[in-house]
Amino acid sequence: MSNFSVGFRASGTVQILDLHGELDAHTAAELEAAIQKCQKENQVNILINGANLLYISSAGLGVFMAYIEEVRECGGDIKIAALQPKVFNVFDLLGFPMLFDIVDSEDDAVGKFSAPDAE
């Protein structure tokens, strides 16, 4: 049984994906399916909430890598918020903050979608 799941919520035009559990090579397909669902529904403002994400491996990071350019080309973005420190460390290890907008709180991330040029 998978110990990973994705919850869906919305905040205005922002589609929020709540990640729960451990994201590895076995469960990465679920995240991919969730992002593809957003694309199918023309949801290009995607916010990943990692408050309940306990673990991520390169397979999970790879899903973000595979879709970020496509989403940005459609005028949207994938922002990541509320990561636990041990999970953020993994993103940081690979230099992800260089490529992705990783924010402390969900509210800050939602705000950035509506005011992208604000600091």
Partner: protein, 139 residues
């Protein structure tokens, strides 16, 4: 130097990665590694096993992967053995994150992560199996 050795053999399917992480967490914690080191060990072994599943065994799901943890007072050594296709270190290139994203490429970070998280990573071949040996010293 005396050491304890614990082994786990799993079939080459990603659904067993969770068991591998639990195995590593148990023994690294018992060996009194710090919480952050336990997380790093867990991830490095996950990445190594994922590579065996996806590359050495090319997705065959019933082949054996043997993981052995050897605990010594100052370090932990992890040996991962498989009987699949060996890793060609010569052709390995360090990934470029931005380039990968632009080409929608998603894989290839496992070895990089292993090398960043562990103090030593050695690949060997012989006796009919491939072996990846990783060492982490206590803080």
């Amino acid at each position: 130097m005396a050491s304890n050795v614990h082994t786990l053999t799993i079939p080459s399917s990603t659904r067993f990665l969770e068991d591998v992480r639990e195995f590593i967490t148990t023994h690294a914690t018992e060996a009194e590694f710090s919480e952050s080191s336990v997380e790093q060990l867990k991830m490095a072994v996950d990445e190594a096993c994922t590579n065996v599943i996806e590359h050495a065994y090319a997705g065959q799901s019933e082949q054996p992967i043997e993981i052995a943890v050897s605990i010594q007072p100052d370090k932990l050594t992890i040996r991962i053995r498989d009987k699949g296709r060996g890793f060609d270190q010569q052709s390995y290139e360090e990934p470029d994150l931005v380039k990968y994203a632009k080409s929608r490429k998603s894989g290839g970070f496992g070895v990089h992560i292993m090398r960043r998280l562990m103090d030593d990573v050695i690949y060997r071949k012989g006796g009919g199996f491939n072996e990846c040996c990783m060492v982490k010293y206590k803080d």
